[in-house]
Symmetry: C2
Subunit: 373 residues, 2 copies
Amino acid sequence: MTAPKLLVSRRIRATPYTSRVEALGVSGYSVVNHTVLPKGFQKSVVDDYWHLKTHVQLWDVGCQRQVELLGPDAARLVQLMTPRDLRNARAGQCLYAPLIDENASMLNDPIILKLAEDRYWLSIADADILLWAKGLALGMGLEVAIDEPDVWPLSIQGPKSDDLAARIFGEHVREIGFFKFRECEFAGQPVIVARTGYSKQGGFEMYPEGFSFGTSLWDAIWQAGPDLQLSPGCPNLIERVEGGLLSYGNEMTRTENPLECGLEKYCQLDGSVDYIGREALQRLAETGPRRLIRGLIFDGEACPPCQHPWPISVDKRQVGYVTSAIWSPRFGRNVALAMLDRGFWEPGTAVAIDWGDGTDRSGIVTNLPMEDA
Amino acid sequence: MTAPKLLVSRRIRATPYTSRVEALGVSGYSVVNHTVLPKGFQKSVVDDYWHLKTHVQLWDVGCQRQVELLGPDAARLVQLMTPRDLRNARAGQCLYAPLIDENASMLNDPIILKLAEDRYWLSIADADILLWAKGLALGMGLEVAIDEPDVWPLSIQGPKSDDLAARIFGEHVREIGFFKFRECEFAGQPVIVARTGYSKQGGFEMYPEGFSFGTSLWDAIWQAGPDLQLSPGCPNLIERVEGGLLSYGNEMTRTENPLECGLEKYCQLDGSVDYIGREALQRLAETGPRRLIRGLIFDGEACPPCQHPWPISVDKRQVGYVTSAIWSPRFGRNVALAMLDRGFWEPGTAVAIDWGDGTDRSGIVTNLPMEDA
């Protein structure tokens, strides 16, 4: 598929940062949660990759919509929605959590922000989890209000993120622990600031409430960054694949379960926690997954974008599929995320990849995140 | 917002027709239900409008995903999901139906295809109604299987649609009644063919099962059409606005209720049918809607796309908002769909529209569909 224009309307929402990323020369969008997500700027994806690993970037991730659960049954509902054990979760924690259905199929993989004992935000990937939560709550008669607050996440990512954040919120932001958040202040208003983000380079995600307040925060960050080589950015596919960061809709769909996605450490399997899909997941765990997410490094010129799963084979027999792939300047070869059948997922396994042109390229299975060769 | 490129991945699905519309020069996409929707071809939207009203077009509407409800509780669940009275619905009927939540807020407006007493397809607009249906069913303990079948709708629209459809499926398709469907045959396989579609020019929607079978059907239709001036097409914004066809996410969101959207005729309000949101809807009906969807014809050069609701005012006081707008060659003025407050929705009311440049343009409220001036 080529890349025709994205035609927008009220239905595909702009964020508080859209006018800013357009002024900065955004070159393309994706759509996540009925909202635009910038996918590139003037720099090449390779230059952007090196910049992200060296400096700091400001990302419009307003598409990471929040599903708020509020009320006496909020804690019960959020635990029903995920196999992750939330019994010891404390307010101020960010919890990466697979969401599954009654068959243990993946529905989403949000970060859950525990705001209070009776208040949670699910910072979601691309699916209307609000409807899933509302359906469950209504069907079960739970006492919980479910809504999408007027919150528009933005993110700074890269090794200079602490220096930049300190200029906006004060030195104390340096003390925020990994996957923790604090309520900070900007322009006299509270903002949740979390040490999270969709890269492996460190950084923060901020959750301003209110459209114009979000724009003001963006502007303040942008103005504070020139000497840190602050650049507009977005999730970088090279960095994401090398780092083993999964994307709902790409690596994970309703066809995959969390064990296959390498998320067993987020699955409480001893029966002590009640959640939807528990029996199905326990059965799957007994036999173990029949396929597993892995990295892949493979030959050939720079590969095209992976728009359909590409078949992976050994001795002409299909043993898996590629879900995301791109040329890596660090390895000087293509890198990919891939689902591999049992017996073929050991790192070092030699496989062949056909990206749709009928040619087999040689590849090697790797661990995730990918280590330097 | 300008129109940068749409970057695609596995997450934003291609349809069986994507390769075909790209070969035919598709100029832009939108994204609906995690799937691409063509938004234009080489012809201008005005040429496309006249063509649609004169000849016949082939549309890739694969994004109209189906939510299948199957099993003993399928009929109960589908009735719970809509205020439309389905008690007299028969297999073979297509039923346009608002879906609402417990507050009577709009969640979607699918066409429901009743396939059998225990089997329904909801041909949905842009929202993950599958998750809503699954949540309700699981929460209420209903015995119903809910899934998205491998069905990829495509549509022919325009006055020559009957002639074209007859060449593919036989003369009997001419007998299919409005909002009825039949199981027809193509290449030895069954295909549901319905006299429906997202235009007011007449036509059919077809529901082939299987990706490559869909592509074969597209190719056969395309090859059968040259002497009918068959052209690739897509929902035409001019025709849609003039015809008063609403779009979920544009005219209708969780902020609006079905009475405001002019859908009262699809709302059973006498208490004889049990559905989610009934009490809320009955309360709203007692006082009547406080705003109502209407048409609008207004001055000025060709307006920009409506990406945020534009304020509508009378004597500098806001009395409504525009949700979709475009230049109409038929009226020689701009046309729009708009929500207007009580007291200001009578056809003929004079209003002012500001599309974001601080200038008020004069406009007149109209009925829907818009009649010739």
